[in-house]
């Protein structure tokens, strides 16, 4: 097969799609805004549900894009996409224009900026951290409070930036519940006498093996689950965090001191993708992500012929789903190029 494909975003989806398209004979230009590929995955330590080391995923993806048909451009952002009767011109921030017969947008997501939930005091209270910060600690091999002490009582808040009208995100980010369960268990592995409390609105354990992981966290790790979303965090004179939450199943407010609070930051449409959507006239959904033409039969297709979506630029997805979605985007590209409707 012949043709030039531009892929925007070299995370899981972009790298998987690039590998498949290159092996199908297309000339692929893979554009990444960061200086390295791999997207968010490289920032996480172990992946749910089987605790696979994320570096294995990175090695797999690196191998995928190791192909002569792939030109990788890192440290570049896409400013504009022009469509001239099915022939695309992709302009990057360094002033170069790249011609393409089809485009795959795999721009991924941005992690919700937790400081926007002001009541949690992220960036203010010393021991309020995010799920991403905790992964860094796992990678480093130690979980420490700001003062270098080991925390003994740790809270985890689900749905930070998700299912929350106040921050404009009505949707569920889908991965945070299972991340919380996984991280709670990992905390116990690092600090065996730690007490861990998950504050959830609903436990959304929809993926394969998620519910089993949840059960394991209770059975083997003694993780405590309290139904209620934390509504206020403060710090007391002993530098402990004080949280206010309702124990909704007991029907009473609950107050607790904690050494550390971990915020399960949700997923949002990436800033860069919003610019692309605006400049190229691509439809965005109520969830602010790219809105594919059909939820069931066209989840990879953009509202413009020749533009395709792969991965979490359309909705929150886990790695498995992202790879599947990227693969299906490749099928859509091949179909489109075969029809030669350009």
């Amino acid at each position: 097969m012949e043709g030039r494909i531009v892929i925007v975003g070299a995370g899981t989806a972009g790298m998987e799609a690039a590998g498949q398209l290159a092996r199908s004979g297309f000339l692929v230009t893979l554009i990444e805004k960061e200086t390295t590929t791999g997207g968010h995955v490289k920032n996480w330590y172990h992946l749910f549900p089987d605790r696979r080391d994320s570096s294995e995923v990175i090695s797999y993806l690196d191998a995928r894009i190791n192909h002569e048909n792939i030109t990788l451009l890192t440290g570049k952002t896409v400013d504009r996409i022009e469509n001239n009767h099915g022939s695309f011109l992709v302009s990057t921030n360094d002033g170069s224009d790249i011609k393409a017969d089809a485009i795959v947008l795999s721009t991924g997501f941005d992690l919700f900026r937790s400081e926007r939930k002001e009541e949690y005091g992220y960036g203010i209270y010393d021991n309020v951290i995010t799920s991403a910060d905790l992964e860094k600690m796992f990678r480093k091999g130690e979980i420490k409070k700001h003062n270098e002490e080991t925390p003994e009582k740790i809270g985890i808040v689900h749905c930070v930036g998700s299912r929350d009208e106040k921050v404009g995100n009505l949707y569920c980010s889908k991965l945070c519940c299972v991340t919380a369960v996984k991280q709670a268990m990992e905390i116990k592995e690092y600090i065996s006498n730690a007490k861990v409390f998950c504050f959830y609105m609903d436990m959304r354990m929809g993926g394969a093996h998620y519910e089993e992981l949840y059960r394991e966290s209770q059975e083997k790790y003694g993780i405590n689950y309290i139904r209620g979303k934390v509504s206020e965090v403060s710090e007391n004179i002993n530098n402990k965090l004080v949280i206010k939450v309702e124990d909704t199943l007991a029907g009473r407010p609950l107050k607790m001191e904690l050494d550390m609070l971990v915020l399960m930051a949700g997923m949002e449409m990436s800033d860069g993708a919003e610019n692309i959507a605006e400049s190229a006239g691509l439809t965005i959904g109520e969830n602010h992500f790219f809105s594919p033409v059909d939820n069931h039969f066209g989840s990879n297709k953009g509202n413009m012929e020749g533009i395709f979506y792969a991965g979490t630029c359309t909705a929150p997805m886990n790695i498995t789903e992202t790879i599947s979605h990227a693969r299906s985007s490749v099928l859509e590209v091949i179909g489109y190029m075969n029809k030669d409707v350009r």
Partner: protein, 114 residues
């Protein structure tokens, strides 16, 4: 002491850190399935006692975990030990034994016959 015609109210919140959660600890040690409760309420829905009195096993198990023992101590004696709750529990919690252990723990640790 001035009487103003009103008084200070008792705080309603569960003071997790101040509470004594040793009863829950005792149960958990002797009946590990106690930890598996997901507070679905199957037990309370079919409960013989709960259908005629405000007794809710689901709520009592939560209160035990929070160390709100006073209410549990009074309520837990109402259970008839029929075993229906254990039969329906989707998580396999041995609720009947949990009730027995709670009574035992109140007796042993707090010298309070239930």
């Amino acid at each position: 002491m001035e009487n103003f015609g009103f008084t200070l109210l008792k705080e309603r919140h569960i003071d997790f850190d101040a509470n004594d959660r040793s009863i829950a600890g005792y149960i958990s040690d002797h009946e590990p399935s106690f930890r598996l409760c997901i507070e679905c309420g199957c037990c309370s829905a079919t409960c013989t006692t709960g259908n005629f009195t405000p007794f809710s096993l689901r709520e009592l198990l939560i209160l035990l975990k929070r160390g709100e023992n006073d209410k549990v101590r009074e309520e837990i004696r109402k259970c008839m030990l029929c075993g229906k709750c254990t039969l329906v529990c989707p998580r396999g919690v041995n609720t009947r034994n949990v009730v027995m252990l709670a009574r035992e723990a109140f007796r042993k640790q707090m010298n309070y016959a239930v």
